[in-house]
Amino acid sequence: MITRLKEKLSALNPISITETDHAAKGYHLDVAASPAQVVAMAEILDQEGFAIEAVTGVDWLGEAAAVAKKPEVAEGEEPVVETPGEPPEEQMEVVYDFSHSGIRPLLRIVIRCRINRGTPELPTISGVYPGANWHERETHDFFGIIFTGHPDLSPLLLPEDADFHPLLKDFKA
């Protein structure tokens, strides 16, 4: 299964595709994709009978700057320090979790998709997985990531007039 899937996904030319140790990581296949590939990948997984687990985001604010600086972080200190001036392009990541319920032991696949923090946009997969609808809405609530083609991105968990995105690293309550 996993090799077949790898082949199928590799045909789309993802940025990287790595098998991971389930015991150490908790998932079997880690795929880094570009925004344009996400829908096609979801379609492949759908054909293979995968179920959607979750969609979420990770804000990598400061990562680009930190990589440019030194990766070492002193103990107790905030991991990332915003660098003044013109920073390199900051990024956000959208993480899709899929699992296959039909096989034992079950197979978990993670698809990651990096997008620019300034223009957080990528196509929705809610057309493929209707269950992604709510997860994407939630991700939009928390990160402000816009899923183009999503039927309704109004706040789901946040108040209906919320104009903030609490999980952004530069969000201050």
Partner: protein
């Protein structure tokens, strides 16, 4: 359905169910577009008890987030403890002592039974039967007493630690658990006689609220909802964690896809959980309940980790992203009822109000876990 198509151009009205409504068991609001008693569209509106646990996680140390996990699904708090402990132990590479693993299983299964019992009572209450609720609470009370004696709390447990447990159990707990198994086994036939075989129950649940396996997959529904749709899927078997692979238990699966199937799955799961507890009590090894080499300050190595457990309501997945500091960089809580509820809009279309509420009850919603 054809009735639905016919009614499209007739008068409809919007019924606002909740956020304060007896059937939603919490602050869930459902916007129902109705044609008489038929539901044309049911749109859940969430967020009334949203507390942004994920942000809280980013602002406290790894260990400090443990109490939060008990406040997600307050009816099955220990499963959530377990999920979080698992993911951090996975990240840190901590091995949990054998005895602690067994005790984790015992307490989690007790908690699962408590959760199912409460669901059973509340579900029958949704259907208008008041009495089973109090019977179920009577049994649940026994579990809470047992768990209170070891965890110190009765609802929002925070019993697990990275690498083990907060404290060991005593003999009273062991004998109490055994007595409880006996008691519940003798009570289950009563429940089945009173509720399961009740003609009104059967009429209301059979062939009502169909959720196909395909729909579950597309929406990511798990737990009893999925098993009631004929899919033999349980994290305890499919992705064995802790010491579940050492026990002999079955995963109840029903192929009817209706509310009755989901009901039966949960009722059978109570018996399976009892079996697990029984075996775990028999096999319970001696030894410490806490791993020795757990650092005082947890600093998970850089990277992201995922762990999933079978909570009472389905797969609870937790993804942590660590940047190597003493606080998580990102915590994603994948709660089962969030996905289970998301199929409600599709599943409830064209149903009668009473049946739709029975369907909602059969999904076993716990709102704090949906809203997080």
């Amino acid at each position: 359905m054809s009735d639905l198509a016919r009614s499209q151009n007739q008068e409809t009205f919007v019924l606002n169910l909740g956020p304060q409504h007896p059937a939603t068991h919490g602050v869930l609001r459902v916007k129902l577009t109705m044609d008489g008693e038929y539901i044309l569209r049911a749109e859940p509106v969430l967020g009334y008890i949203h507390r942004m646990h994920e942000k809280m996680g980013e602002n406290r140390t790894w260990a400090q987030f443990m109490p939060n996990t008990g406040r997600l699904d307050y009816l099955g708090a220990l499963s959530y403890n377990h999920g979080y402990a698992l993911v951090v132990e996975r990240a840190m590479g901590i091995t949990v002592p054998e005895r602690a693993e067994y005790l984790r299983v015992i307490t989690v299964e007790l908690n699962r039974i408590a959760s199912h019992l409460l669901w059973f009572g509340a579900f029958v209450l949704d259907l208008g039967g008041f009495t089973p609720l109090l019977y179920a609470f009577d049994d649940r009370e026994k579990i809470l007493d047992l768990l209170e004696s070891v965890t110190g709390s009765r609802l929002t447990f925070c019993y697990f630690r990275f690498g083990g447990l907060y404290n060991d159990v005593d003999d009273d707990f062991i004998t109490g658990s055994r007595a409880f198994i006996k008691r519940l086994r003798s009570r289950m036939p009563d429940y089945h006689n009173l509720v399961t075989n009740n003609i009104i129950m059967i009429k209301r649940l059979k062939d009502v609220g169909l959720i196909s396996a395909e729909m579950c997959r597309k929406y990511g529904a798990t737990g009893p909802v999925l098993r009631g749709s004929g899919v033999d899927f349980d994290i305890r078997k499919n992705e064995p964690y802790s010491v579940y692979s050492e026990f002999d238990f079955d995963i109840p699966v029903y192929h009817e896809c209706d509310s009755m199937a989901r009901y039966m799955v949960r009722m059978d799961e109570i018996e399976q959980s009892l079996r697990i507890i029984e075996q775990a009590l028999d096999k319970l090894p001696e030894g410490p309940v806490m791993a020795e080499k757990v650092p005082k300050i947890i600093k998970a190595p850089k990277g992201d980790y995922y762990a999933a457990v079978e909570a009472a309501r389905g797969t609870f997945g937790i993804r942590v992203v660590s940047d190597g500091t003493n606080t998580p960089y990102r915590l994603k809580l994948r709660s089962p009822t969030y996905s289970n509820l998301s199929l409600y809009e599709e599943a409830s279309q064209g149903m009668l109000l009473a049946d739709a509420l029975a369907l909602m009850g059969s999904l076993d919603l716990v709102i704090p876990e949906i809203d997080r």
